[in-house]
């Protein structure tokens, strides 16, 4: 529930929000989309300031579309799907020519291409804090949409990670990773001034604010201005219905395929709810425009600066489709914070954006009266969180959370660990610290690192400092390590106390066991026959914990606090009473299902 007072407060404070004042890089581009040859050609000029404390001798560009040029690329070697696409002729390529640095043309001997990276030796050394001007021409051959770039069957275009992008710097180091099949992106905050020459009949949406510069019968030229963003993306095409709305002083633009118009209301609602939720939890969304695009890319949704794509449920109509659309839009909008503004390194520390986003999205979707990620099977509700948590625990923590994206052996392990297990790691931390302390620490972390590039250590420091707890062991076990968690109640016994001065008439013995290597303090709750409850904490370090308590009433049950990472929840409680009759109901259900199967084959 977003309160009116909050909405008013954020509206009033909107003008006070400051974006990052010091941007090392600014881009100016003039590009033309040719729909007959499916190419984008253009001119790019960049003002680049050395943000490091070292003297630079070369700079590096990402040429991401070259991952799909031929099957020799790292991406293609890692992805059978892309190899097949390339084999059928669906390729993309980004060619760069006429490079000029500070007015001097750069000859080819100064260039070194390595996969999707282009290194350029600088004509003279660039000391810390000094600037250079780089200009270049480029031609981009567009594919039929593959991962997040290209045109679709309707003639709509999505261009993200499409132009020569300077490799970013983090903590003074150059982040020059090759584009892998599981990797995403990293670049520094920049400003963009882009002139886009597109067919006149096309609708257009982009990162930043757009205005039309000129138009004739066949072409239209638009200018996009974006400040303090980590990249620039745009979408255009003839087959979008464009609708505008607003919330919290942000202009919302929806680019929906015409046959999906009936999902607009839902998309608008979840967009506003997600923007409000994250603005309230962390800090207000600072940009003036936000765009939601209905585009069928390689995933259910895709985060872009100031823009998200989502697969509208045309193919998955019904309650599952609706829940999926809620999840996709909420997840991608949450990325606007955990990627777009708290710009962690998506490629080398993917858990910092995907894990945080998955965790916050789960909270967001469950924050209303009804869970927004649930769908109904025969009238019984199932949450989309369930398969995600299953996937996370199925990996049996084989891979640490804090790995580079390409170090995971396959897409399943990458997704299950980086998205879902990381979300469980954060959920467990929340359960350990308490929701209020966790939320406060997360908000402090978000505010401390907005428009910056934090890493895992920054996160650990921020949380340790905020909560006043040393989190070294937690991080070593569950983020850098592969510890697995399972505690269980082994036994619960009671007898009349020999000495009633110990605190009660009954002596209660609880034995708790640590089944796996992960160590977490355990909160044990004893429910008593008289309705009272006794809570106690066991440090969980030993394999076996024997706890003795005294009470005036016999116990009913002993229950452990179930952490999200606990792999076996069945052994987290032990009742003295038997649930035989309850189980019998379930047993009859199973028998009846089997009866149907047998009767079918009569």
């Amino acid at each position: 529930m977003i309160h009116l007072a909050y909405v008013l407060a954020t509206l009033i404070s909107a003008s006070a929000t400051n974006l990052s004042p010091d941007l090392p890089t600014s881009y100016k581009m003039e590009v033309r989309l040719d729909t007959s040859s499916q190419t984008v050609s253009g001119f790019e000029s960049i003002s680049f300031l050395n943000p490091t404390s070292d003297t630079l001798q070369e700079i590096c560009f990402h040429l991401f579309p070259n991952a799909f040029r031929d099957t020799s690329s790292t991406y293609a070697r890692e992805s059978l799907k892309i190899r097949r696409e390339i084999a059928t002729g669906n390729t993309s390529a980004l060619d760069v020519t006429d490079i000029v640095i500070d007015g001097s043309p750069v000859d080819s001997s100064k260039l070194r291409e390595s996969g999707t990276l282009l290194y350029i030796a600088l004509p003279s050394k660039l000391p810390p804090g000094d600037s250079i001007a780089i200009s270049l021409q480029f031609t981009l051959k567009l594919p039929h949409v593959n991962m997040r770039l290209g045109y679709n069957a309707l003639g709509n275009y999505l261009l993200s990670h499409w132009h020569p992008i300077l490799c970013g710097y983090q903590k003074g180091g150059l982040i020059d990773f090759e584009y892998h099949s599981q990797s995403e992106f990293f670049s520094n905050f920049s400003s963009y001034d882009v002139k886009l020459d597109i067919p006149a009949g096309f609708a257009i949406g982009s990162t930043g604010e757009l205005r039309e510069l000129s138009r004739d019968s066949s072409r239209a030229v638009w200018q996009a201005l974006a400040d303090t963003v980590i990249d620039f993306a745009f979408v255009c095409g003839p087959a979008f219905d464009v609708t505008e709305s607003d919330t919290l002083g942000i202009k919302l633009r929806y680019f929906i395929q015409k046959d999906h118009a009936n999902y607009l209301k839902q998309a608008d609602w979840i967009t506003k709810y997600s923007l409000s939720y994250n603005s309230e939890k962390f800090f207000k969304y600072p940009y003036p425009v936000f765009t939601v695009v209905d585009f069928d890319v390689a995933a259910e949704g895709m985060e872009l600066p100031g823009m998200v794509t989502a697969v509208f449920p045309g193919k998955r109509s019904g309650p599952v489709g609706k829940a999926m659309l809620n999840l996709a839009i909420a997840h991608e909008i949450t990325h606007e914070w955990f990627y777009g503004m708290i710009a962690t390194n998506e490629a080398e520390e993917p858990w910092l954006d995907e894990g945080f986003t998955s965790y916050v999205t789960s909270r967001l979707l469950q924050s209303g009266d009804d869970s927004l990620s649930e769908f109904s099977i025969f009238g019984y509700k199932v949450s989309l969180d369930f398969p995600q948590q299953m996937a996370a625990l199925m990996t049996e923590a084989e891979w640490p959370v804090a790995l580079k994206s390409w170090e995971y052996p396959d897409e399943f392990n990458y997704s299950a660990t980086v998205y879902f297990k990381a979300a469980l790691v954060l959920q467990t931390l929340e359960e350990y610290l308490g929701r209020a302390a966790f939320d406060s620490a997360l908000a402090q972390y978000a505010n401390a690192y907005r428009f910056r590039h934090p890493d895992t250590n920054d996160f650990k420091r921020a949380f340790s400092s905020s909560c006043g707890i040393n989190l070294d062991q937690y991080f070593a076990q569950f983020i850098y390590g592969t510890a697995r968690l399972d505690y269980g109640i082994r036994s619960l016994e009671f007898s009349p106390a020999a000495d009633t001065t110990m605190g009660g008439k009954y002596k209660i013995n609880v034995v708790v066991i640590r089944e796996l290597d992960g160590i977490m303090p355990q909160k044990i709750s004893l429910a008593l026959e008289n309705g009272a409850e006794i809570d106690t904490i066991w440090d969980g370090i030993q394999k076996l914990g024997k706890i003795t308590l005294y009470s005036d009433s016999p116990p009913l049950s002993a229950t452990l606090l179930s952490y999200g990472l606990d792999e076996n929840k069945t052994n987290n409680s032990l009742y003295l009473q038997s649930f035989s009759s309850r189980i019998m109901s379930f047993e009859w259900d199973m028998v009846s299902i089997m009866e149907f199967l047998i009767a079918y084959f009569l």
Binding site: K315, R316, S317, G318, F378, G379, Y380, V382, S383, F386, Q389, M390, L393, M394, S557, T559, E567, N568, K569, T570, N571, N572, S573, L574, Y575, L576, Q577, S578, F579, S580, S581, R582, I583, M584, S585, F586, E587, W588, D589, M590, V591, S592, I593, M594, E595, F596, I598, A599, Y600, F601, L602
Partner: protein, 281 residues
């Protein structure tokens, strides 16, 4: 009450129910024992009502994979062994439906004798059933892929339709064996081929109708079941739900008996037509 028990459709449906119940218990027993041991004193047992919660299923799949694998093997062995028993008694029940009024199958001895006579033929039909249902899956998936683009529900509908057709064909062959006492699969296929072709539409519409009516009854009972499960668990609601579930299985068996009888009467009519026509033709 005794009159309704003498009704061969009703009586055979009850026998089918008992046969299914026995199979249900036998096949699920190992799994239920495993779960009982795990849940008997755990709060997880509280999550089994009104329906088993996904996190319980997740917990079982994650932590009892070896037990489940062992169960799968034991269930398969029990299924194969029970399959012989199930086939044997279903032979007798088919005879009750088809010949009950004409031949003396009232005594248990006659029932067993008829079962023993037909058993080899019904066992052969199990092999044919694998082929028939494989074809049904293939056609169901193929048609579902084509028409499912128009409406997602058609994917399921086509699969159910082809399964129904496969089931109908197998019932016709069983009927033929029960009618003639000839357990030769080849003879049954040959002797029913022409009549199936001739009466295809009547068979198709009749079986679809029975299935649709069965589904409606099933759905009504399901709503009743869901209503009862809306209450908190207590022994009384638990017993009521078990009874409703068995009523649902009985309704399903009743539809099967009706279909068997219907298919028999249609094929009989076609055979009589082929012999020169009767008032049934």
């Amino acid at each position: 009450m005794t009159n309704i028990l003498k009704n061969r459709i009703f009586a055979s449906s009850l026998m089918f129910l008992l046969l299914s119940l026995m199979g249900g218990f036998l096949i699920t027993a190992p799994f239920l024992v495993i779960l009982r041991n795990e849940f008997i004193r755990s709060a997880m047992a509280l999550k089994l009502w009104p329906v088993v919660r996904p996190d319980v299923i997740g917990d079982i799949l994650l932590n009892r994979a070896e037990s489940l694998a062992a169960y799968a093997v034991s269930a398969l062995v029990i299924l194969v062994l029970y399959g012989f028993l199930w086939t044997f008694f279903s032979c007798g029940i088919y005879s009750v439906i088809i010949n009950g009024a004409e031949r003396n199958v009232d005594s248990f001895k006659a029932f067993l004798r008829r079962s023993a006579d037909l058993w080899p033929g019904f066992l052969k039909l199990i092999i044919l059933a694998f082929i028939a249902y494989s074809i049904a899956i293939f056609l169901g998936v193929t048609f579902g892929q084509i028409f499912g683009r128009l409406w997602g529900f058609l994917r399921v509908a086509f699969m159910l339709l082809f399964f129904l057709m496969a089931s109908t064909y197998l019932q016709i062959l069983k009927n033929q064996m029960a009618q003639t006492g000839d357990t030769s699969l080849r003879n049954s296929i040959r002797s029913t081929r022409a009549t199936i072709a001739k009466s295809f539409m009547r068979l198709f519409i009749g079986n679809i109708s029975a299935a649709v009516i069965g589904l409606l009854v099933f759905f009504m009972l399901y709503l009743l079941l869901k209503g009862v499960r809306g209450f908190e668990w207590n022994p009384f609601t638990a017993v009521i739900t078990i009874l409703i579930e068995q009523l649902m299985v009985f309704a399903f068996c009743l539809v099967q008996s009706i279909r068997i009888n219907f298919n028999h009467s249609i094929i009989q009519r076609g055979a009589q037509d082929a012999l020169g026509g009767t008032q049934l033709g």
